[in-house]
């Protein structure tokens, strides 16, 4: 049964672009570094459905497009047209590490981000041992996060998201975090979740991740769904597209 369904979803986003050119008009505004806005189509008439227990790889297209699809799936972005229906809440693992504040202690940060992800303070409290254990941060629990290295933040973000025990995750670029041991731990955990029937949608720039976890791939090009195939086939398509782009440059 499908737990996520995109039906004819389209989305445009606006991007700012620095004014360029050498003409006389707007010379001052160019000099001031003024930008102009451009509306670009990100997702174009996209339809697909996800069955429970699948792991989907998003291949090809721009990173912005892949992130947008994840956010659309999780409901933190509303499409311009078309509908997204989901029968289960999705944990959006999209830049969670950016939600931490440097001025707060690790414990406060766990409450903060846990809360933003929708946990009540009591639920966070129950999960704190599990989270610190997983992230291996017990020793600095009451110290300020301050200038902790990015890998620590990512580890913390991961551990919080993993502790939610959700059935559906949307993962953006973050499957490769921390040092080797931690990565191994994460990956085993993901494997366990998958065995228990959790669903994943993954966008990564590491094809190893796709090969390891995904059993189905969606290949995008210019915001359109081009192919709904296996991971190997989609990666081959992406490679071919890259080569074609390079050849046309030569």
């Amino acid at each position: 049964m499908s737990i996520l369904e995109f039906s004819h979803v389209s989305l445009t986003m606006s991007q700012t672009k620095r004014r360029t050119g050498t003409g006389k008009s707007k010379r001052l505004r160019r000099f001031a570094g003024e930008t102009k806005r451009q509306v670009i189509p990100v997702v174009n008439d996209l339809s697909f459905s996800v069955q429970a227990g699948q792991s989907i790889a998003l291949v090809g297209g721009k990173a912005l497009a892949r992130t947008s699809i994840l956010r659309l799936a999780a409901g933190t972005l509303i499409p311009d047209s078309g509908t997204v229906t989901r029968s289960e809440p999705i944990v959006p693992m999209i830049g969670i590490a950016r939600g931490f504040g440097r001025g707060y202690t690790v414990r406060q940060n766990i409450y903060l981000v846990g809360g933003i992800l929708g946990l009540t303070p009591d639920q966070v409290e129950q999960r704190i041992p599990q989270i610190t254990e997983f992230a291996d941060l017990k020793s600095i629990l009451d110290r300020h996060l301050g200038a902790a290295p990015a890998s620590t933040r990512q580890k913390l973000a991961w551990s919080i998201a993993m502790s939610l025990d959700a059935r559906f995750y949307a993962v953006d670029q973050t499957l490769v975090v921390g040092e080797r041991d931690f990565r191994q731990k994460c990956w085993t955990h993901v494997d366990q979740l998958r065995e228990q029937g959790a669903t994943f949608i993954i966008s990564a720039d590491n094809s190893k991740v796709y090969r390891r976890f995904c059993d189905r791939a969606l290949y995008f090009s210019h915001g359109k769904l081009e192919a709904d195939t296996t991971v190997a086939a989609a990666l081959a398509l992406a490679r071919k597209a890259r080569h074609a782009a390079r050849d046309s440059e030569d």
Binding site: T76, P92, G95, I96, Y111, I116, G118
Partner: protein, 248 residues
Amino acid sequence: MLRMLVLRDLQRQYTKFRLGYLWSLLEPLGMALVLWLVFSVLLGERALGLQPYLLFLSVAILPWWWFLKSVQASTKIFRRMRGEIAFSGLPLQIWVFRTVISSMVEFIFSLPVIVIAMAVTGFLPGPLIVLFPVAIALQFLLLYGIGLLVASLSVVAPDVTRVVKIILRAMFYLSPILYSISNIPASVQPIAALNPLVGILGLYRIGWWPEEQTSAWALVTSLSVAAGFLIAGLITFKRLKPRILKEA
């Protein structure tokens, strides 16, 4: 959740400086003193506002401070929270709500300034002081409406942030903070009543100066404009929500 966000906000405010919480008192107190010096001592007996002028000022300066901080913070709130918005399952309004509450808590913390001014001047309020909390509640609703309005609009057009700055400066002089509503010529008073702050500031002051609230009609006008802001804020936010998610 909301409580936690507010606590974090306050913590950030207070741990940064050595005097911590005292700044909540010192900042408005300093402002009140400066204005009192200029308008009462230097300009002498021009009969601006009501006596005692120091208390008269501080009763209005504190709510104004809350108003100013809250509206200013609202203009930037969605952009500041863009990272959190990408993965948050919470309703989007919570971020505006939080700014208003945080600045309200700071306002309440700064209320001892009024007590100090009362002690210095020895001027005590009458029974109408019960309207003071009502004024706080009304101002809260007004700020929530304005907050949603400017927060949503400034995502679509960042220029709104600048415009709001100018409007806020004008509001300071157009609202009865330095002066009493009775200082305004009677012919202009109906127009002044369109300013939602006129009604609310009147309610703050009425406990000490019952003559401050001249006509019930002006109060009703002022408060309905405030209600209008709330409705406009809610509608604008609802319509712009997809764009806020996209562009914040």
